[in-house]
Amino acid sequence: MSETIWLIPLIPLLSSVTLMLFGSRLKASQIGILGVASVGIAALLTLLLAVEFMQNQQVIQLSLWTWMEVAGFAPGISFYFDGLTLVMMSVITGVGFLIHLFSTEFMEKDPSYARYFAYLNMFVAAMLILVMADNLLLLYLGWEGVGVCSYLLVGFWYQHNANGHAARKAFIVTRIGDTAMALGLLLLFTQLGTLDIQTMVGEANQTWQVGDTIPLIACLLLVCGAVGKSAQLPLHTWLPDAMAGPTPVSALIHAATMVTAGVYLIARTHGLFLLAPTAMTVVAVIGITTSLMAAFTALMQTDIKRILAYSTISQIGYMFLALGVGAWSAGIFHLMTHAFFKALLFLGSGAIIHCLHHEHNIFKMGGLRTRMPVTFWSFMIGSAALAALPMTSGFFSKDQILLQAYQLPDIGPALWVAGLLGALLTAIYSFRLVFVVFFGKANTEPDKDTGWRMAVPLSVLCFLAMVGGWFMIPVTEVFPASDGSHPAHWVEYVSISVPIVGVLLAYFIFYSGRLKIDGLANSALGKSLGQFWLSGWGIDWLYDHLFVKPYYGLANMLKGEPVDAIYGLIVALNQTFNHWLSVAQSGRIRWYLASMVAGLILVITLAANLSGGSL
């Protein structure tokens, strides 16, 4: 098995290529089977691999060929497989398979069915390469590959300009981070002479001391990449817009897998980050700030997918917090559970949108509890996990993160409090969603409930979201062990109770109506604050005026090619000379004679040196 792990990304890739080349000639059913089966096989192979790994705990390193070899720079097309990789691969292939299955029904009516699966399969392949890469350059290949697939899928319905805009925004904003990350790669190679992650970390530990500047810069550059991909402040603005893509895409790419690539990157290179404690603090602060910002924003959103998108940003913020405080395995654990419940929520919302004729506004839904029971239960379970109610999967992972954050010296308690605030908000907005959409009176009538191809993935994900917290992820070998100490018990109790309080608040505000917040919401401060949160803290507006518009303006200003003006000047100069001289060619003999005499005077003066006066 270990020799054939390269098949896992290859199979979806081949399927993608096949669909691209021959998609137009295949029947819809064939397309669906090909698309789903390829990921299914990949998932199966991953499962086999997992079984094998559980038995022997053997790290696999497989080099296919040397990508390029120039002056000691010799990255390979080579894979590295350990517990962390296994977790990521399982999530990608497993959740990916379910979402593919879901998509067969969701996208059934779309004329570009083949294109959809081609992109989706390619995404799975690129994502697998990302997590399996042995060196940072190959990782970068996967990294950019998923970016392009994300771009393609967000803009899948290209006929609407807004979708195209969202897609470009997604790509370019992440590209900013990617470029910084590329610079980080340059720095790392220049300093350490290799991009192979394992060797590199080893080198780094020998070359640098903890707290040196260069690892700090390198780590910060990598963080930039991670921030872009994982939609953290300040590069998070693309993710809510990216909801323009088909909902299963949001589930797979913008919730379960791609957006967590940043988390994976930092986890994978944690050896470097350990050398740069400042960088880790930065990661933690970014994480918690993003988390809070997104949670507040999610509170005010009315579009079901945007709520989920901000919730994703917020949850990834928790993962960053985890990484920043050194809770590596907790971060990855949260990554996994989040993949389960967020995919579940997205697919659920997809089902709703599918059945409600592309309705996105939650206030136009309502009362769906009885009409779409499968979806309702999916949402209930997913929201419970998201809110981290006890015994759900989200509870276990988030609890770990908060506890470990608390233990951090100095800023630990502050992070913990902020995290709790976030958890409270999470509970409120997630159950706001549930109460508004599924209870109350019906505003729109769904034409049907989900079919089996939607129901099965939902059910499986429900199961995973419930029990995912009991999984033991095999990353103990990967990360340094934590000291195992526990904080005081009251901390734990507070952590557990906060989400429950949040749910109750949501219940009183949005369901029973006992808690009136209208007065608060309608006050001047409340209104403007609400508006501020609704707009995502005005960050989009800021960027638009700070970067986008000036760039458009610059491009417009330079459009006429100012450099050409220099040459235009030369041309004009020549034309002027031409004009003057042409006027001098007056055709009059006397004028010609005068010019000859003047010439004669000139020549005599020069030759006899008369002007010099030296007689």
């Binding site: 006397r590 005068a594 005499v597 004669l600 005077i601 005599i604 003066t605 006899a608 008369l610 007689l615």
Partner: protein, 175 residues
């Protein structure tokens, strides 16, 4: 001594006559001044020991070439109207610029020439010496000069004949 006095007189006459020639409105008057100038130059030739050149100046220059001018002027029959126009053309606005140019050129030439010294030879170069030179080393020049005259002849013949032909044609047209 006397020669020097004669030289200055002749030079003055030549210059004045030339200026007059250049500024007359009437072509015939101008031509006569020009002839006077040429005669004065012939005197200078004589004074500096070139009697043969002086003779040629009078015979060919003043005699033949100037007569050619007279013929043409007669043929064209430039009348009073032409004179009036000539006077109009001789405005300061027209001659000021050229005058400055000429003056500058003159000043340069004077600067150059005033540096030379040394007299001209007293011993006259006789016609015989000139003849010997002409048909000695310069014999080819004489031949080429003949070709030059031939070219002038053929050219003026071609141009002049057509002028005359026009008259014939007009006469025929009149009939």
């Amino acid at each position: 001594m006397l020669e020097i006095v004669f030289f200055y007189i002749a030079a003055t006459v030549a210059l004045v006559a030339t200026v007059m020639a250049m500024t007359r409105a009437n072509a015939i008057h101008a031509l006569i001044y020009l002839i006077v100038s040429l005669l004065a130059v012939a005197v200078i030739f004589f004074l500096i020991g070139a009697p043969f050149a002086a003779a040629l100046e009078i015979v060919i220059y003043a005699g033949a070439i100037m007569v050619l001018f007279v013929f043409v002027i007669m043929m064209l029959n430039l009348g009073e109207k032409g004179d009036k126009q000539e006077r109009q053309w001789l405005q300061p606005s027209i001659w000021a610029g050229p005058a400055v140019l000429s003056a500058v050129l003159l000043i340069e030439l004077v600067m150059v020439i005033s540096q030379t010294n040394g007299p001209v030879s007293v011993t006259a170069v006789s016609a015989k010496e000139v003849g010997l030179a002409l048909f000695g080393p310069y014999v080819l020049a004489v031949e080429i000069a003949s070709m030059l005259l031939l070219a002038g002849l053929v050219g003026s013949f071609h141009l002049g004949r057509r002028y005359l032909e026009r008259d014939n044609l007009e006469k025929q047209g009149g009939q």
